[in-house]
């Protein structure tokens, strides 16, 4: 890959901002527009930009493929685990009310954790898809 100074500098400047914005969308999702799905896509966009500019091999060094697999699974387990937790606390599946000291705190914590699970899975799945297509024809 031919190094391109302008791209390198701009990408290094922009990528942290993209990740910061992704985290904002993730954790502000329960007050404003946003949530796990959107945040996950934005988050993975930062990594996709990185691998477009610095090359696929460098990007795969940062996040190896088997880690992506574990992360993609982890998100689903977090989501379903929150449901099981509320089941253990004596409520119905995904009844967040019981997770906190009062109803508002419980609902808040529940949706935050569930959206975190969504975010992790979506980001990992997007990257798996990207690497699967970008890596075609290498072997």
């Amino acid at each position: 890959m031919r190094p391109n100074l302008i791209l390198h500098v701009i990408a290094k400047f922009v990528i942290p901002l993209i990740i910061l914005f992704a985290l904002y969308v993730q954790f502000h999702g329960d007050f404003g527009p946003g949530g796990g799905f959107q945040a996950g896509v934005i988050f993975s966009a930062a990594f996709i930009l990185y691998s477009l500019v610095f090359g696929l091999e460098t990007a795969e060094k940062i996040i190896p493929h088997h880690w992506l697999r574990i992360l993609a699974s982890l998100g689903v387990v977090i989501y379903a685990g929150v449901g099981i937790e509320s089941l253990i606390l004596g409520g119905n599946y995904l009844d967040y009310t019981l997770l906190g000291s009062n109803q508002i705190a419980g609902q808040h914590l529940g949706i935050l954790l569930v959206e975190l699970g969504v975010g992790i899975t979506v980001a990992a799945a997007m990257l798996i898809l990207f690497f699967a297509f970008a890596g075609r024809g290498r072997e």
Binding site: R69, I70, A72, S73, L74, V76, V77, A80, G81, G83, I84, L87, G91, N92, Y93, L94, D95, Y96, T97
Partner: protein, 492 residues
């Protein structure tokens, strides 16, 4: 526990699926999946038992009351279908161990079991939920995982057939979603029970009729109802045998269930009869039985032969729906159960042959019946059940179907059912002739009986075929209750 069982039936395989995906290679993924499928089968059994004792189970997800929240609503109809799906899964998984090791590359084994569990989650979810949009979500979970499962097949055609199914399946799911959207725009609810209460007042609107049509066509695609069956033969032929066993015995059955729910629970029965829907079901059913049976006779690939036979069997179920009487619905529900037993047994036996000779062409299996007597026995009994010989499960379903047709003095369907059975004699006979009466092809290979892990689940289903042909308390008894629920206001 109580009602939580209905929920855990969906959540247990859902949680297990991502865990299995990250397990190391080897036999651990299989062991976990097998344990999960057994747990599901036990839960489904308990659920059916408690529904038969105490009526309807309603479970509010997240503690939100219906019609706003998602409700799992289980009566005899869902509990029966869920039991079929869960039991077939529990029988398929022991079979999967050797069959998958032979047919699926080693590095994909954990992903394979993960996709199988996701498919199980989706299928069980469809049966459990009482929310018409939630059905779509689970339909997509089961479909997406089955596209992945089919593409794991050995030959290159597995990719094209999986892609073909992807396109057809997505069109079907989209049609269903458009239909649900149209109904939602007129009723403002997605809960099936709530929608059933509101729909009678808006039935005259064209939007509702259009929505109904979209949903019917969409599910008919998923169901592989003739003439929308074109994806099925390829998908069943090129998928790994375990996947074919599982999908043939469960996926289309669940689609039949959705059809019954929409036709008889969500929409008032009078509407179904007033529209040409019931006549179309009879017409499509008859055409499917005849044409698919004839196609089956001319196939050179055993899996393809059985796949066309499946299309024909779906035709029989469509006939039962089309009669729109209690007996007709009973026949459909009984055939749903019995067809899962016979096709499961037949595909498993074929899988045992493929395990030994690595081919499923009819001219390669000449004389193998004598080398593999137990596998051959399973094919003979499964085949007899497919034909509908008295003493097998197939006879019971044909009997109720003919009774339903005679009640309505529908002579042409009666004739079609009988001709369909005769055509089944021809294609099953073709299999048996090749396996037993043709001389062994001499290619230097010595073929021995299939391993025990393949034979035990196969014979489990074969014996179930005989058992449910003699003792019909479970099938007919439950189907009677389920049909009564569906057919609420219909003539008996």
């Amino acid at each position: 526990m109580g009602n939580h069982i209905s929920l855990l039936l969906v959540v247990v395989p859902l949680i297990a699926a991502p865990l299995v995906a990250v397990l190391p290679r080897g036999r651990l993924p299989w062991a976990v999946s097998f344990a999960v499928s057994v747990v599901c089968a036990v839960f489904a059994g308990i659920q059916l038992w408690s529904v038969l004792q105490g009526g309807v189970i309603s479970y509010e997800l997240g503690g939100w009351a219906p019609p706003w929240g998602i409700e799992y609503r289980i009566d005899a109809v869902n509990a029966f279908v869920a039991l079929i799906v869960a039991v077939i899964a529990a029988l398929t998984l022991p079979y999967a161990l050797h069959s998958a090791e032979r047919e699926i590359p080693e590095e994909k084994i954990p992903t394979f079991y993960s996709a199988l569990l996701l498919c199980l989650t989706g299928l069980l979810g469809i049966t459990q939920t009482g929310d018409i949009f939630n059905v779509f979500v689970f339909l997509e979970i089961s479909s997406l995982s089955s596209y992945a499962l089919i593409s794991l097949g050995k030959s290159r055609q597995a990719f094209t057939s999986s892609y073909q199914y992807l396109i057809m399946g997505t069109i079907g799911a989209t049609f269903y979603l458009i239909g649900v959207g149209l109904l939602y725009s007129q009723t403002g609810t997605l809960n099936m029970q709530d929608m059933a209460n509101i729909l009678p007042s808006v039935l005259h609107l064209n939007t509702v009729v259009t929505g109904f049509t979209f949903i019917m066509v969409g599910i008919a695609l998923k169901l592989a109802l003739f003439p929308l069956h074109l994806w099925l033969p390829n998908a069943y032929t090129y998928a790994p045998t375990v996947v074919t066993v599982f999908l043939a015995a469960t996926a289309t059955k669940v689609a039949v269930y959705v059809m019954l729910r929409i036709l008889f629970t969500v929409f008032p029965q009078t509407f179904t009869i007033a529209t040409p829907a019931d006549e179309l079901f009879i017409l499509a059913g008859m055409a499917g039985v005849l044409s698919a049976s004839v196609y089956a006779i001319y196939q050179k690939n055993i899996k393809r032969l059985l796949a066309y036979s499946s299309v024909a069997q779906i035709g029989y179920m469509a006939l039962g729906i089309g009669f729109a009487t209690t007996t007709g619905l009973m026949a459909t529900l009984i055939h749903l159960f019995n067809h899962a037993l016979m096709k499961g047994a037949l595909f498993m036996a074929i899988g045992a042959i493929i395990y030994r000779i690595d081919s499923c062409r009819i001219d390669q299996i000449h004389g193998l019946g004598r080398a593999m007597p137990w596998t051959f026995g399973a094919i003979v009994i499964g085949g007899l059940s497919l034909v509908g010989v008295p003493g097998t499960a197939g006879f019971i379903s044909k009997w109720y179907l003919v009774t339903a047709a005679l009640e309505q003095s529908a002579w042409i369907p009666v004739a079609v059912i009988l001709i369909g059975s005769l055509l089944a004699v021809v294609y099953v006979g073709k299999l048996i002739e090749a396996l037993y009466f043709k001389p062994l092809t001499d290619n230097g290979k010595v073929v021995s009986e299939a391993p025990l892990m393949l034979l035990v689940p196969t014979w489990g289903l074969v014996l179930a075929n005989i058992y449910f042909g003699l003792d019909t308390d479970l099938t007919v008894g439950v189907a009677e209750q389920a049909a009564a629920i569906l057919a609420g206001g219909l003539k008996p």
